[in-house]
Point group: C3
Amino acid sequence: MTVTIKLGQLAEFLGATLRGDGDKDITGLATLQEAGPGQVSFLANPQYRKFLAVSHAAAVLLKSADAEGFAGDALLVPDPYLAYAKISHLFDPKPKALPGVHPSAIIAEDAHVDAMASVGAFAVIESGARIAAGVTVGAHCFIGARSEVGEGGWLAPRVTLYHDVRIGKRVVIQSGAVLGGEGFGFANEKGIWQKIAQIGGVLVGDDVEIGVNTAVDRGALADTVIGNGVKLDNQIQIAHNVQIGDHTAMAACVGISGSTKIGKHCTIAGGVGMVGHIEVCDGVFVTGMTMVTRSITEPGAYSSGTAMQPAAEWRKSAARIRQLDDMARRLLQMEKVVEAVTSGGKASSEG
Amino acid sequence: MTVTIKLGQLAEFLGATLRGDGDKDITGLATLQEAGPGQVSFLANPQYRKFLAVSHAAAVLLKSADAEGFAGDALLVPDPYLAYAKISHLFDPKPKALPGVHPSAIIAEDAHVDAMASVGAFAVIESGARIAAGVTVGAHCFIGARSEVGEGGWLAPRVTLYHDVRIGKRVVIQSGAVLGGEGFGFANEKGIWQKIAQIGGVLVGDDVEIGVNTAVDRGALADTVIGNGVKLDNQIQIAHNVQIGDHTAMAACVGISGSTKIGKHCTIAGGVGMVGHIEVCDGVFVTGMTMVTRSITEPGAYSSGTAMQPAAEWRKSAARIRQLDDMARRLLQMEKVVEAVTSGGKASSEG
Amino acid sequence: MTVTIKLGQLAEFLGATLRGDGDKDITGLATLQEAGPGQVSFLANPQYRKFLAVSHAAAVLLKSADAEGFAGDALLVPDPYLAYAKISHLFDPKPKALPGVHPSAIIAEDAHVDAMASVGAFAVIESGARIAAGVTVGAHCFIGARSEVGEGGWLAPRVTLYHDVRIGKRVVIQSGAVLGGEGFGFANEKGIWQKIAQIGGVLVGDDVEIGVNTAVDRGALADTVIGNGVKLDNQIQIAHNVQIGDHTAMAACVGISGSTKIGKHCTIAGGVGMVGHIEVCDGVFVTGMTMVTRSITEPGAYSSGTAMQPAAEWRKSAARIRQLDDMARRLLQMEKVVEAVTSGGKASSEG
């Protein structure tokens, strides 16, 4: 699948300053190292500046400052990475579904599917569900009773929405994601776990992305809430009644326990775990694999864990950590002894 | 979807002492803070007691002791959280499937589906499988050859059971869960991994719950075994030949390696990992994200990991941990010096 | 489902030295402790040697050295575990699909499905896809546009390949795995995340295994690459543009961030996380739940984390870790004081 766009058209699309041959045919995008003569590249990270001179790219997205001394064709933009993001969609080989319902799909009589929506093979859409205009429902998707997908959404093949899951506009959901699963709610009766029905739903804002095999549980009583512009990577677990603020991003394999509330514009790195019933304020960055066991009330970066070592050294460190409390006591004890000795020494020297 | 139940009926259902208007219509459940005039709430956690006086709930599930001084309607019960669990199912908007097989489902001729079971759209049930009375098999489910689902089970849409997976009664399995996948078994032959066929099955007891996208691998030789009343949350990995004792609960994102045996009534918090071939006794609680690298023979709580810090402070701690072995040696060395000095001092003062 | 094979046939199949009755019927495999009179067992781990004398196995796969003093029937082989791996497939009860396309499958007109391939119920194969001879595509699988599955592959029910995913020969993919999902690529524009189209694909070598619910994202620009003989367990996350070298194995719940390059013959234990844009050389072993935050340039074993303790002791250790930087300073300070005192003492005694 090949798209061909003139370099001048790209400049126009981006509002970029064109330096070079606007008639050049562009057929794709690539890194500076890998770009061939039909491909556009970009320089965003200064550590790749060394590849600029030797790149075979047809043209490079550049800041004006970086363009000095570069002889090749260029599109001058204030933010090359953002410019790359914007034109990437022009070269995306992802198949675009046409409006219409595949004859194999099973749609409840009282579900509403907009005429401008696309529903794939073997999709199931249940009673009272609503699929808005411009939505793609992939093959094998299941849309539960009364669930809604807002305008322009894109559901990959095999996405499951249970009942009463309401999704905003332009939301992207990858394969295997499950929204509205029954959260982990049990009351313990003499050692036996009794299930609590999860009667809340899930509410997802606009412009959200939800990754492969990510799970967002329905609320126990009220809804689980995902704010506008939130981006969730793959293999994430969002428990019942979690609230995630607008424009917060989470990398893969994060687990958020029940009723935890995360602020806006947070960045949660991969493998982070958060306990339940805590609050994380706006503007927090949590580094990879950190265990968040208490609320965070100040913006900033937070971490836990230990640094990697060769295993033989690590075994020593790990053994010593278990002795730390003892070491701390001995250190304090010695400080007292040394203090006594040195003040004793002083006393005698003064005496 | 609205259910209406008289407050008096709820009291009768629970065996609770009714204090107030039994004719009041109840249409749902909510927290003390969020409950409206048609909703019942509950007071379980003492820290929410402050919301009791200001709640708009139609009635509150309360212990007798907490009811003193509360003017509103109440249902007096010994365990309000358990009472809430029990009535939650009355208000569950989850669609209930009627008995019968959807015409699009594909069922092997020699599979047995009870007339009182429900099989959803596009489900596939293979040769020799058995689906008991009162079972719901959701849309897009796959039930492999000779697999069995016992009475009253509920499989959400898109659950996969491979062949030879036997499931007890009243088992709930959420979307995306996979039981009977081929475990990670390979023999290394000169650097090349040779696959070992996984010829065991999976055996699941009664009253088990298995969460969204959780994986339970089949046994290599004998079966992987999940005991009665076990509750597994989302995104969990149970490797081949693991055994989990009755009424043990695991929160999300736990990973249990092959052949590990976990006792009864254990609670494993989120993100815990256990190495293979160990045994954990009954009544163990493992805190979140702990790495369990050896058998546990005494009931109690166990942990690993480090506490979260601001990232700048954490970097210092992490660097110091790598110096710990050196620090421990220096501390010991200094203790010897100080011991020598102080006993030397004593000697000289005594001399 | 029962297979019966003569013990002598197994010896021939393995090239083993038969000691005992070659006419004995063998119907399965089991551990030394569990084997019954029709089953073959094996002794690989010396710690199970104690079970050899009391085993009821029909015959045991043994090294010659271990056979001395064992009175039962045996198959003498150089590597009993490998021999077990090889014969395990003879007793595998996994249903074998016959060539042919299930009538319910939906296959694009311009897709190519070899006559000797098997396609299950409700599978969807899109435009330009290619399924080679001997491939099994399970029920509910989705094969995206232009994707290819090489000879002898086995896709469990419910596997998703997005578009432009190319898979080598004899590749096994378990249920719920998703290859080619759109990686987590966003450019931040004034606090708002702008999606970057993921225009690369996924390239998977020969003899690869991919576990249940594992995700391998497509490349942002170039392909994500999985080498020959790579084995990925369940619940793994492989981000965009990761490269994994030949014969590397990863246990469950591992997460590899974008553009990280892992060498050949590495072993990554369960729950390990790696940050993005690093390189790990050949022959590295990373222990469970380690956080890999920098490139590894020397083969060997690497670890992070702390050892499990009873929770009460752990709380003390965790608190002390936060004091470590302070402790290290105080230790150094005391060393100076002690040094001054002892050299002062020396000076005075010498004076």
